[in-house]
Structures are given as structure tokens and as C-alpha cells.
């Protein structure tokens, strides 16, 4: 893996796109994680389909470019295959809050130890800007030329209701802050979510608005309800860790100490067990 985590693939995001900030933050975070003792060799990524998904090609890390909406399920599978790995799933708002919402909420509920980063640009960017689950009512896109008639969902509240143990929001325009969040999320023992405000310069160029409203939190909230209230604020956009708690992870509870790929039974042992079944 290259020192700078580059793959050499041509980057086809638009100049000025918020995705560049996310890419920079991830790279920074991986380096910080290495200082903290987590090797990049142990980090595995999964991505959905959309502009966000292209980060797969730009990060020199192992992983899978999954299907639209399935990056969280892919991530969970990798984790269960080898729970020693650190998994980061990258999704889009269409992808992870729409097509794949159920996977996200169930991952949160079961508290599987993965990190999910959603590039939330309030649009289906790659498919030319249709309204997404987080688009405001009245949003104009090619499938809603007269304005979308649906109010947006508020993803952090949903995640808190589902039982997520680490819920946070970042901003693609604040790379340092975002990279800190990523480090915390990956180090959090359990399901960690980062909703990233990500302007799309083509469809949702909210840089100005975000620059004005974004506000770094000092403390996490101590109850879920407080965290939910925070997520609903609209006169400012708090960023940081809204809520965190520690509770048993799904992978530990399901697997105990066993690592399916490392602690595979010897052929001999397996055969013996099967014989026991067949013969007794």
C-alpha cells in the first residue's frame, strides 16, 4: 500500500466536490490510526454506488466496491468472517438512507463493530441529481421538476432510535475535524456512524450555508433524547459526536473468542465431529 494511500486512479469527482474533503480526512485518519496501533493492513473498506462510492478507487486499502445500498451488509459479512479487521463502509444518502436503510438500522441495533460514513449531499448525484431521502421538500431534480413533495428524513434520530452506540456528524469542509471523528469512530468498540455534510457543487452547493451554520460541539450528549434534539437543530448545524455508549458488540456476542478464519477447525477435528454425527 502506497504511503499516501493513493492508487493512482484518475479522480473523476467535480472540482470543488465535498468528496475531496472526505477522501483527505480518511487518509489523515488512517495515518493517525496507525500511530494508535491500528495497521492499514487491517482496515477493510466497502462502498456503495454513487459519486461517494468512487472513493473505493482512490483509497489504496483492501475492500469491496459493493452494490447500491449494500455496503453495510458487505461490511458486516467481512467483520463476521474475520472480526480482527476494522471495517469502514462508505455510503451515499440515496444509497445508505434509502435503498439500504434497513441494513444500516439493523447494524446499529445489533451493534456490530463497524464504522459507517455517509456522504450526505442531499441528492442522487451520480444519477444526475434526483431528490434523495435527505433532500428538503421542494427540491428540484429531474424526477421532481416541480419540487419534491416529501419532507426529508433525519438520519441521526433514526440511528439513535435504532440503538446506534456512536452517532456523529462531520462536515466535508472541515477535514481535520472529520478525520478526528473517523479515528474515534473506528476506535469505538461497536457500531459507529458518521453523517457527513457533503456539498455537491453541481446539485447541492451548500458550502456557504454550511460554512455559516456548522458548529463544532464541545461535548457529546448524555442521553439519546438530547442527542436527537441536537440533530434537529436547524438554526445551526452541530458537528461532532452526538452520542456514544459502550455495549456488547454483536460480533463478540455471536462469536465469543472465535475468529472464523483464524480459528478454523483442523480437518481432523472437523471430520471427527462429522463422523460423530453420522455414526452414533
Amino acid at each position: 500500500m502506497s504511503g499516501d494511500l493513493d492508487t493512482g486512479a484518475e479522480i473523476t469527482w467535480c472540482t470543488g466536490c465535498g468528496n475531496f474533503g472526505i477522501l483527505a480526512a480518511v487518509k489523515k485518519a488512517v495515518k493517525k490510526l496507525e500511530e494508535n496501533g491500528i495497521s492499514r493492513e487491517d482496515i477493510v473498506i466497502s462502498t456503495g454506488i454513487g459519486c461517494h462510492g468512487k472513493i473505493f478507487d482512490y483509497l489504496d486499502l483492501s475492500g469491496i466496491y459493493s452494490l447500491h445500498g449494500r455496503e453495510v451488509a458487505s461490511a458486516e459479512g467481512i467483520k463476521l468472517g474475520n472480526p480482527d479487521l476494522k471495517i469502514i463502509a462508505f455510503g451515499g444518502d440515496g444509497d445508505c438512507y434509502g435503498e439500504g436503510l434497513a441494513h444500516l438500522l439493523f447494524a446499529a441495533k445489533r451493534n456490530i463493530d463497524i464504522t459507517v460514513i455517509v456522504h450526505n449531499n442531499g441528492a442522487y448525484a451520480l444519477t444526475t441529481g434526483q431528490a434523495s431521502p435527505t433532500s428538503p421538500k421542494g427540491f428540484k431534480g429531474p424526477a421532481t421538476p416541480g419540487g419534491s413533495v416529501e419532507p426529508p428524513i433525519e438520519p441521526l434520530g433514526l440511528l439513535l432510535s435504532a440503538g446506534a452506540s456512536f452517532v456523529s456528524r462531520g462536515y466535508a469542509g472541515k477535514v481535520k475535524h472529520l478525520s478526528d471523528l473517523i479515528v474515534q469512530a473506528v476506535e469505538h468498540p461497536g457500531f459507529a456512524h458518521i453523517d457527513v455534510l457533503q456539498p455537491s457543487v453541481v446539485f447541492t452547493d451548500y458550502y456557504e450555508e454550511y460554512n455559516e451554520l456548522v458548529d463544532e460541539l464541545e461535548d457529546t450528549r448524555s442521553t439519546k433524547f438530547e442527542a436527537m434534539e441536537l440533530a434537529q437543530e436547524s438554526d445551526r448545524l452541530p458537528i461532532g459526536v452526538f452520542y456514544r455508549e459502550e455495549r456488547p458488540t454483536y460480533n463478540e456476542e455471536l462469536l465469543g473468542e472465535r475468529n472464523p478464519v483464524k480459528d478454523r477447525l483442523s480437518d481432523e477435528k472437523r471430520l471427527k465431529e462429522i463422523r460423530a454425527f453420522l455414526d452414533v
Binding site: V44, Y65, S74
Partner: protein, 562 residues
């Protein structure tokens, strides 16, 4: 289903018991007890459980057939029929052999044909009068064939570990009542079978475990659920983790994820769940992930008839997933094959890094029969792994299209890509690269075909100028029909369905040919017409959700070859 009396069973030692009742009356357990009774007599046994999609009430039955010879199916004409309720009585009084004994619940039916037992009143004394009734089956059987009471009690104890006392007490009551009413009039020869019996799903589970399965992902769906339940109970010992996520889409995508970590993974479902896995199946083809999919069919379309059997998913299975990519589809014709084939498939898929399907049906998944397998005969193949001294490319172009594998942690990035990609796994839409990757994957299809040409791909049973083509669990019905009726015919059963071993099958396109299958659209026959130019003289199909009764089928075959 017609022509019952044309053909007579020629196996004189064939002995069938049918027990029917409501869900909640322990009918399935009763079937198990009957099977065990026969097994302990060294007899070969086949047990078929017929039940509805409900938890209490309705009508369930078990048909348990046994013989001193190897037996491949249950029968629907029984030597002993035990009806716990009225519906059963109405339904099964027609299922008797000429000398068969019909037992019914005289508390529910007045003046029935056969022998009335006051089952409801007899069971009233007990704590769980409904559940206890199931014991009637084994008690009746023990009595009519002259088994002694102690053996009966010890059998009841072993099959009903919970509630031993009540169960043994009730079985003794019934035993005495039957002895009293009819005595021991039937003969049951002992055999020399020393095998155990298992339901097909357990055999599939054991087969996969033998080949080194690490994780089984599934969302419950009849008739595949018992694979999940098996691993959930026994996976610890076998080194297989059972995972039940929120949906089939999660199941399939998690399974692919697990292979990226290096874990051998399998999933199981029925038609509707498999439909939801279509996109992930295609993803497995693209990223080259060797997930094994078990598709156990029930009657479709849609939710269909959840607890019955059918072969209507053949075309669907053969063409699962959008786009061009190699896949292997195979269907076992009996329990032993289910064991070895599942193991083999897991290895084959890892060898060629592409998804595949074990296609089976409720009739194999949930019926039980005697079988003899040796897990040490399972051939496991180690997948091609990357040699550490060269640069790693996930999709390295090679002569056979198979690229070496590598798993994290890894110094070099291992990139599995569901979009079209270059050798490194980086996304591309460049025309030469797109074509080259298609060629690479397609090469695997050709190599798989070559490998199959060296393998045993078609089972042929018997001989004769009449050729019967069949596949999957219907093979069991056909073999039993021939065995019992003495009709001479050659049975040809392709084990692999994609690629279809046309080179082998074509050898049997001669003379009169009959296709037997369970699909109204006769999908299997169509496949053979398409692929080997078969022009069947006759297609025998059944599509009411029930497996063939062997003697019925024998009658139909006889008609067809007449």
C-alpha cells in the same frame, strides 16, 4: 392421480405406515418414532412428512415406508394407517393396501371402517392430551407386528426424552388396546441395514461442513430453514457459525463479504428468498466470490404453497442474476449425493471463484432416508492462492481466467470490485478493459465445462430400451417406482444442470424416452429438448405440491411405455 391398480408392488417386504392428525398432535415426531422402529429392525426406511403452513390444527401426516432392501421413497398405500382425527380418517382411509389395517379415533368417528381406538378419551387423563397422541403410531405398529412391550417402552423413551412418563404410559394403553382388538397379525422381517437416516437438509449441512464451511447465513424460509436450525444447534462443534440477519438481501451480501475475509460461506433459502438474492448473485459473479447458494424449492410462484414440493424454479435457478458470468448449478438425486455434491460444489466454487447453486426441493430437504457416507471421501480443493513474491492483482489475467486469492490483512490492497474493473480491481469503462474482463470471466466458464467433462456428471440407473429422464428429488420417486414395480427402464439423471452435461446425456437419446418432473410448464423436459434435442415420447408431471407416489408413478410409466 389415476391408474393405481395397474401395477402391483413387487417388493414383498415393503411395509408402510401412515399416521395423520392435526398440527400440534405430534405427527412429525410420530413419523420419527416409526422410522426409528424400522431402523432398529435393520430395515431401510424412507420418511416423508406432509404438513401445512400453520402451527396448530389443519392436517398433517407422515408416511414411513421400509423394506429389507434399499428404498427410495415413501408410499401412499400403507399396511397400517393411524388416524388421530376425523380429517385424517376421511383422507387416509383410501390409502390402504388390500390387507391394510386402518386405525381411527373412535371418539371422533362412529362406525368407521377399520379399528376404532378411543384416543381422545384415553388421552384425556394426561397433561398434554393433544401432544401425547402422536405416540399412538408407534404403539399401534409395535402391537400389530408383535413387538414386545419393553422394546416399545424403551423406544418411546429414546424418541420422547421430554415427558417420558406420560408418553410411555399412553403408549402402553394403546398397545394393550390394539392387541386386544386385532392382535399381532402382521409380519415384519428384520433386515441388515446398519445406516442412520437423516433429513436432506441435515445431509446438505453436513456435506458443506465436511468441505470446510465457516459461516452459514440464512433468513428462515421453508423448506430451507432446517439447515439454519441445524447449524444453530450443532455449528459450534462443526466450526460453522450460523447467522440470521434482517433479510435475504443482507444474507447474500454478508455471505459475499465473508468470502472477502477468507471465510467459506453458504446461504440457503427457497424461491422467494432466492429472488431477493438475484442482485447479490450477480455481484458474486462480478467480484468472483465463491458463495454457495442452496435453493430448496416449494410450489410457486410468489409465496405459493410454502410447505410442499415442486420443481418450478429450474429455469430461474439456471439464469439467476443479470449479466454474463459463469455459475455452476447442480441438483442431488438422493441423500448420499446431497452430501458429496454439496461438499464438492463448495470446493469447485472456491477453485473457480464464482457463485453456484445447489438446487433441491422440499421433498429431498425435509424427507429422511437411510444413507451411508464417508466424510473422509470428500475431496477438498485448496483455492489458488497468491504467491507472496509477486505484485498482487485481484483480477490478474491468467490462462484459465482464475486469479490467485489473497485475504486481509495484506500489505497490498486487495480490491474486489462490483463495477467493471481492470486487473487491479480499479473501476474502468475503457472498451478494451471491459472486453478483456468479460473474456477472463468467460474463460472460467469454458474451464469449468472442461473440468466437468472429466467428472461423473450423470447418474444412470438400470437399463432397458425405455429411458426415463429426471432430476433432483424426483429421481427418488422414479427409482422407487421402478424398484417396486419391476418395470425395466434406464433412469438418466443429470447431477449438474449448468453447465448441462450434454455430452453424457446425448448418449441416452434413443428409443422411447419419458421425462418425469414436477413442473406444470415442464421446464426440465424443455431444457432437454433445447439442449440435447430430446423429443420425449411422454412427459409425466405432477404439480399439486405432492411428491409422486411410486406406485402411481409406476402406473403412469407403464402407460407411457405401453
Amino acid at each position: 392421480m389415476g391408474s393405481k391398480d395397474d401395477v402391483k408392488a413387487m417388493d414383498e417386504e415393503l411395509f408402510t405406515v401412515i399416521i395423520g392428525g392435526q398440527a400440534g398432535q405430534g405427527v412429525k415426531k410420530a413419523g420419527e418414532a416409526l422410522s426409528k422402529f424400522f431402523l432398529e429392525k435393520g430395515r431401510y426406511v424412507f420418511e416423508m412428512d406432509d404438513y401445512q403452513s400453520l402451527i396448530r390444527g389443519g392436517h398433517n401426516f407422515a408416511s414411513v415406508s421400509s423394506s429389507t432392501e434399499e428404498i427410495f421413497s415413501h408410499h401412499m398405500r400403507a399396511d397400517v394407517v393411524v388416524n388421530l382425527d376425523k380429517t385424517s380418517y376421511e383422507m387416509h382411509k383410501k390409502n390402504l393396501t388390500p390387507d391394510g389395517l386402518n386405525f381411527y379415533n373412535s371418539d371422533e368417528i362412529e362406525n368407521g371402517e377399520g379399528i376404532g381406538l378411543p384416543l381422545t378419551s384415553m388421552s384425556k387423563e394426561f397433561q398434554r392430551p393433544q401432544l401425547i397422541m402422536g405416540v399412538t403410531g408407534i404403539a399401534v405398529l409395535a402391537a400389530v407386528v408383535g413387538e414386545n412391550k419393553d422394546s416399545l417402552v424403551s423406544l418411546v423413551n429414546s424418541v420422547y426424552p421430554r415427558g417420558k412418563e406420560d408418553n410411555t404410559a399412553f403408549s402402553k394403553l394403546v398397545y394393550d388396546e390394539v392387541l386386544d382388538k386385532v392382535g399381532s397379525t402382521l409380519d415384519l422381517k428384520e433386515g441388515d441395514c446398519r445406516n442412520r437416516m437423516f433429513p436432506g437438509n441435515h445431509v446438505i449441512a453436513l456435506g458443506a461442513a465436511s468441505a470446510g464451511l465457516d459461516i452459514y447465513f440464512a433468513y428462515p424460509m421453508t423448506p430451507a430453514s432446517s439447515i439454519l436450525h441445524f447449524y444453530a444447534s450443532h455449528g459450534d462443534k462443526l466450526g460453522v457459525t450460523a447467522v440470521h440477519p434482517e433479510s435475504e438481501i443482507a444474507v447474500a451480501n454478508m455471505a459475499i463479504g465473508a468470502t472477502i475475509a477468507g471465510a467459506r460461506s453458504m446461504v440457503g433459502t427457497s424461491g422467494g428468498g432466492f429472488a431477493l438474492m438475484a442482485e447479490a448473485f450477480s455481484l458474486a459473479g462480478m467480484v468472483e466470490s465463491p458463495v454457495l447458494f442452496v435453493l430448496s424449492s416449494r410450489p410457486g410462484p410468489a409465496t405459493g404453497v410454502p410447505t410442499y414440493t415442486e420443481q418450478g424454479d429450474l429455469g430461474f435457478a439456471l439464469h439467476q442474476g443479470h449479466g454474463d458470468f459463469p455459475r455452476i448449478v447442480a441438483s442431488p438425486g438422493d441423500m448420499e449425493e446431497a452430501f458429496y455434491l454439496t461438499a464438492d460444489m463448495l470446493s469447485l466454487l472456491w477453485k473457480y471463484q464464482t457463485p453456484g447453486i445447489i438446487l433441491t426441493e422440499k421433498h429431498l430437504s425435509e424427507s429422511s432416508m437411510c444413507m451411508d457416507v464417508d466424510p473422509s471421501k470428500v475431496r477438498t480443493v485448496e483455492p489458488r492462492m497468491h504467491e507472496e513474491d509477486t505484485e498482487y492483482k485481484r483480477y490478474l489475467s491468467t490462462e484459465d481466467g482464475v486469479s490467485p486469492l489473497k485475504f486481509p490483512p495484506s500489505k497490498e490492497a486487495i480490491k474486489w470490485n462490483g463495477e467493471e474493473h481492470d486487473e487491479y480491481g480499479i473501476t474502468t469503462s475503457r472498451s478494451e478493459e471491459v472486453a478483456a474482463m468479460h473474456d477472463k470471466r468467460h474463460k472460467k466458464e469454458e474451464v469449468i465445462l472442461e473440468e466437468l467433462k472429466d467428472r461423473h456428471t450423470v447418474n444412470v440407473y438400470g437399463s432397458g430400451e425405455n429411458v426415463i429422464f429426471t432430476y433432483g428429488s424426483t429421481t427418488l420417486s422414479v427409482r422407487e417406482a421402478l424398484r417396486c414395480s419391476g418395470i425395466e427402464a434406464k433412469v438418466v439423471q443429470p447431477i449438474y444442470l449448468r453447465p448441462l452435461p450434454t455430452w453424457e446425456l446425448k448418449k441416452h437419446v434413443e428409443g422411447r424416452s419419458i421425462v418425469v418432473e414436477q413442473s406444470v410448464a415442464q421446464q426440465f423436459s424443455t431444457l432437454l429438448e433445447d439442449k440435447i434435442g430430446l423429443e420425449p415420447t411422454s412427459v409425466i408431471k405432477r404439480y399439486d405440491g405432492r411428491p409422486f407416489d411410486p406406485m402411481d408413478l409406476a402406473g403412469k410409466i407403464k402407460e407411457a411405455i405401453r
